[in-house]
Amino acid sequence: MNKTDVLIIGAGPTGLFCAHQLGIIGLSCEIVDNLDKAGGQCIELYPDKPIYDIPAVPECTGEELTNNLLKQIKPFNVKFHLNERVEQLKKNESRWHIKTSGGVVFDVAAIVIAGGVGSFEPRKFPVKECEKFEGSSLLYSIKDKSIFKDKTISIFGGGDSALDWAIELSNTSKVNLIHRRDGFSGAEASVQKVNELNKQGKLNLYTKYQMDTVLGDKNIESVKIKHDEGEIKEIKSDYVLGFFGLIMQLGPILDWGLNIDKKTVQVNTENFETNVNGIFAIGDICSYPGKLKLILSGFHEGALAARGCFKYAKPEEKLRFEFTTTSKAAQERLGIKK
């Protein structure tokens, strides 16, 4: 059981800055995120794209913003639980117990949901027959590549994941790469490599084809692919891999009894608390009249939510408003030596 004052759900910029604000006022927190790294949409959707509207930062990338926020919260030694999705929520007297997908349990006084548009999940094939094989012979990510040795693999997608795995697996497996158009979104060097391997017969490239269906009993035996003009090909396959990027799903938070409207959680603008006492929501996931989905709004919301958490974490104490410039306590918490 991880006991801490506040659990932050989501390690995007809003969640990270909220951790900073909690640290400044002397509360402890831990952060859970479904991705394998901090940064949220900044890292997953636009790590290299510039952002121009962070106050006092004329230009930075999603990755730079994330790294700076991580640096800013370093003094607080915040514990991260990555690759974990929150699942169950239970009230235990005045505290909350939360359990994650990986079985980590938290005992906290308050919860801040900074979940963006939900947790990132792999985008799946639209074909219904695929569900039956999911997790066994149809996969959306690779944990152990040794299972593919000497097998026939059909890879779908045109981005870097699809290209990189097609190249890598072509060394030890028979690889079919299937993509809906001639162009690829992956790196140019990888596209060239794939074309080369195709010419040398080390990989079979099928463009302008998409999945039609998968066939097999317990495991996949073959996959049918359909050309833009309607022609259908059946190719033998032991495994099917789909790399279509990630989609955001709200997930189990939907069942927590919060007021939800169009995938967002309603909050008050005084402290960004939801309709459930002790559960706050900030950033893209919260809604209120006038809500702007900007990172800077998330920072403001996080600062207020952190102060809202105080009365649950330290009911006997009174929170005094202080500036980091002059507060001795805040500077001590930041580890500043004078």
Binding site: L45, R123, G159, G245
Partner: protein, 106 residues
């Protein structure tokens, strides 16, 4: 102003007057037309505002910018008449545009 017709997956048809300058995606969101999620808010970063444009409109729309086709690779059941509705900025020329919203966005 342009009249945009949205066909949703449950066979409902809604024709909306959308102001010039807004996107076809915003026209749907502001009028509670179901089926367009627009998770990233119009940043061409998620492919959840994917629509099928009525064939005769394909050539009349502004051409796809770099990146739109890449994002469409990620969309749910992309076809040759697929577009991201966040990239279709409404103008008088788009008056009468008809789009079909896919059964789901992911």
């Amino acid at each position: 102003m342009a009249k945009i017709t949205y066909y949703t997956h449950d066979n409902k048809t809604q024709t909306i007057d959308v102001q010039n300058g807004l996107t076809v995606m915003e026209g749907a969101i502001q009028n509670d037309i179901p089926g367009i999620d627009a998770d990233c808010g119009g940043g061409m970063a998620c492919a959840t505002c994917h629509v099928y444009v009525k064939e005769e409109w394909l050539d009349k729309l502004p051409a796809k910018e770099d990146g739109e086709e890449d994002m469409l690779d990620m969309a749910f059941e992309p076809k040759s008449n697929s577009r991201l509705s966040c990239q279709l900025i409404v103008s008088d020329e788009l008056d009468g545009l008809e789009v079909n919203i896919p059964s789901k966005q992911g």
